[in-house]
């Protein structure tokens, strides 16, 4: 690896150094060169850096040690082991890898719509090296990817850590493939004035249908139980009768409930009539069962089952909405079905900030800044101080890059947050919202989002404070593996 030249020079410059340490170094370099697996084992120590831990603390001239993909020590007094590979970072800043709470980076498909089971992780192009590189260059090491459809329910969002050429690490990189159920509310351009109302109502109907679906199953199960009980009773009766008259054979050949296949076919309505005839024939054979009607199993609906997980509080609901009226509709739906809601995009959310605060609904601001010129639609509600207004009202605010217009777009998450600070957002809280707090929002705070012992070694070395003018990412690590180095970033320079 990059150490090889220094190894060679170490061999030739033995004078003045103890041969033991040289030997160790040579051995270490050899191990690194031989196996990338061992590279994970060898600890790395970033030294003398200003560490912004992600949860509000700053450690001046601190050291971070990581090994085997996880952070093993953080602090001022930390001593790295002899074997450790040292990275001198005096004057530089170390932060947790930034987390983009809403980004369509490398997202390659849009689901057909109204498919709660579609997964964003299946649409994420893990081979989109340039796009992943672009995010890493800005210090973003993890993103929440929505499963977006033009309207209604889109599917399941994912939390993915970024690494170019992931290979075997892929499983490790997907922190969640069912992070939230995504939906979109509001009209697209060119639709009639009632389209927005219809879109909200459609979402409500989906949840209502899911509840009805559950009810249908509960009814069915109840009926089935009843039915089976009766069957059992009858079998018992029969057995008793048989005891009394043991000459009769064939006690309860048909005591079981109808087979699964038979029940399934019952659901096909057009065929039901014909089958009923068959059934009647069958039942005539066994006249005693004639008055016992077996309940029909409701059709399986995987989409409804996902929605039920939202209603049961096992899955969060993330809705992209861009007009205050739409946002209010969504709040009402979420309240009605007891869904844990996250709003994203959220143009105009500041206009309903008090209501959002009251219902404790977090907001991910990810709409692009609006132009000065008047734009019709949601854009006219965009204002740069929306984050400040929402926070002031007591709403939890997060940031995302939102929908990227082209594969060459390079989202500037840190600058987006810096701009919010310039428009009144609390400077002390700013970094947290794209590290520790974002991890909490996505339910991965025990994995990423802080420079803390035991968490994954997703770290970024910056030339300056991440919000400072001209600050650039020098190196980035994901799971302890170096995923970005400015010196070897060909696209990043002009040559």
């Amino acid at each position: 690896m990059t150490n090889s030249p220094s190894c060679v020079s170490a061999i030739f410059q033995t004078s003045g150094r103890s041969s033991v340490s040289v030997l160790l170094q040579v051995l270490g370099c050899w191990l690194v060169a031989v196996s990338p697996l061992l590279a994970q084992v060898r600890p790395v120590a970033i030294q003398e850096a200003t560490i912004l831990t992600g949860d509000g603390k700053t450690i001046e001239r601190g050291t971070v040690v990581f090994q085997g993909g996880k952070i093993s020590a953080v602090g001022r007094e930390v001593k790295a082991s002899l074997m450790a590979k040292n990275i001198q970072a005096a004057g530089k800043y170390v932060t947790p890898g930034l987390i983009d709470a809403h980004s369509t980076l490398a997202l390659r498909f849009a689901p057909a719509g109204d498919q709660a089971t579609a997964k964003a992780v299946d649409g994420f192009d893990r081979y989109a090296e340039d796009e992943i590189q672009a995010a890493l260059r800005e210090g973003v090491t993890a993103i929440y990817v929505p499963c977006r459809s033009a309207s209604g329910i889109g599917g399941l969002g994912a939390v993915i850590r970024l690494q170019p050429r992931p290979g075997d690490d892929w499983e490790e990189l997907v922190l969640s493939d069912e992070a939230a159920l995504c939906a979109m509310v509001g009209a697209q351009g060119g639709q009639g004035p009632l389209a927005r109302v219809e879109a909200a109502e459609a979402l409500r109907q989906r949840f209502r249908a899911a509840k009805e679906y559950r009810q249908a199953w509960e009814d069915y199960e109840e009926e089935l139980e009843e039915y089976e009980k009766k069957l059992a009773e009858r079998a018992k009766k029969k057995a008793e009768e048989e005891k009394k008259s043991p000459s009769k054979k064939d006690a309860g050949g048909k005591k079981n409930a109808p087979s699964r296949d038979q029940r399934k076919s019952d659901q096909d309505k057009p065929r039901k009539k014909d089958e009923k005839k068959d059934e009647k024939k069958e039942e005539k054979k066994d006249e005693k069962k004639e008055e016992l009607k077996k309940p029909t199993e409701p059709k399986k609906d995987r989409n409804a089952e996902v929605l039920l997980r939202v209603i049961d509080g096992e899955l969060r609901l993330r809705v992209e909405a861009h007009l205050p009226a739409d946002i209010l509709n969504v709040l009402q739906i979420a309240e009605e079905f007891n869904a844990a809601l996250i709003l994203e995009g959220a143009t105009g959310a500041h206009l309903v900030a008090d209501r959002l605060a009251e219902l404790e609904v977090p907001v991910v601001l990810s709409a692009p800044p609006a132009p000065v010129v008047y734009v019709p639609g949601a854009g006219r509600h965009t204002r740069p101080d929306a984050a400040a207004i929402l926070r002031e009202a007591g709403v939890d605010v997060y940031f995302g890059s939102g929908v990227l217009s082209s594969p060459t777009a390079a989202p500037q998450l840190a600058l987006r947050v810096a701009r919010a600070v310039g428009h009144g957002f609390d400077a002390d809280a700013a970094l947290e919202t794209i590290t520790f707090k974002a991890a909490g929002l996505l339910g991965v705070e025990k994995e990423i989002g802080r420079v803390k012992r035991g968490l994954r070694a997703d770290l970024v070395i910056w030339s300056d404070h991440p919000f400072a003018p001209g600050a650039t990412v020098e190196r980035a690590f994901v799971g302890g593996r170096e995923v970005y180095h400015a010196d070897s970033d060909k696209e990043g320079r002009d040559e």
Binding site: P369, P371, V372, V373, T382, A410, L415, A418, P469, D494
Partner: protein, 390 residues
Amino acid sequence: MNRSLVGHSKVLVSLLAAALLPAVTVAQTSAGRVVHAAAYVGADGKIHTGGVVVVENGVITQVGGDVPSDTRVDAYPGGVVCPGLIDCAASLGAYGNLSERQNAIQPHVNARDAFDRFSRQLRAALAAGVTTFALAPDDQNLVGGRIAVCQTAGPDGKPRILTEAGPLKLSIAPESFKQDREPTSRAGAIGLLRETIEAARRDASEDNPLAAFAAGRLTGVFTTPSGADVLAALRLKADYGLRLVLVHTRDARLVAEQTAGQVTGVIVGPLDLAAGRREALAAGVFERHAVPVALAGGLPARPADSLRIAAAVAARAGLTPEAARRAITTVPADLLGMGDRIGKIQKGHQADLVVFSGDPLDLRSRVLAVYVAGQRVYVPDLKAPEGDQP
């Protein structure tokens, strides 16, 4: 309740201040005033300590040094005084279509005629620190017309035209090729342009801007989206001795070397918060080849702080901080031919100033006040909208 009361009182105070300010300031004009902050952005683009800027009769008379006595002092502790920002590729307040559609050569068009000084866009730009902008014909015609240099506010707070005799706007962008008039192709466009320049060289009349351009007396701001367009423009310059400012971003890496020394400068951008790497790198590339770079704000089709966003993005992609600050102040003033009047905090220059709470390049900094010709024309309102309101 308490909070809203405080809010109201703040609004009241700012309203009062706004109402009183003009009266006070007009009275003080001749006596001069001092803008006193912690630091200022020098003509070199660097931040210098000692942010004392003394203004008399709308002109800067002293930079740095001690605060003179007997003068009104506007104090901004911790602030940084910056020249008023200049967007050299804008169409703020443009009323009606900015380009003719029947003829690709429109030297007689003057953008000043499309200037709507009552547009709300101007106030939004002013609030973001943009004091001056080039109202430029768009890229639909080979020769689009004359650029007017306008101000989002004059010393009386009302928008004004600084000069209507700005550079000539040219374009060989694909949108200048039409199906229903010449040119219909790129080669045709360049051929027609050559013909036009040669005809103009034979016409010695003083009032023909094309003649002045063809003779190398008037700068042409030339939109050249591709690297090939840049090379074509440079050939025209070599053949006719033109004075050119190029509007180019995409292929900077490929043409920066050839451009060096051939043009007055290059306008790069606009760049937004999701600008591609190639676009973000462009300004830095030109800087390294010693080509003066201005960044475009693209107002009003971009957010009001678009110039600062562009500068911040470019600075993260290799443009030095000094050059980034110059790219939204000094250089655009130079490229518009107004460099001896605006764009610098220097003795003798018009006192167009923006006081930021920190480095203007740092997006965390806020606008604290805006001055035009020494008059404070903007202090932030508590809840001012960013864009047009219906």
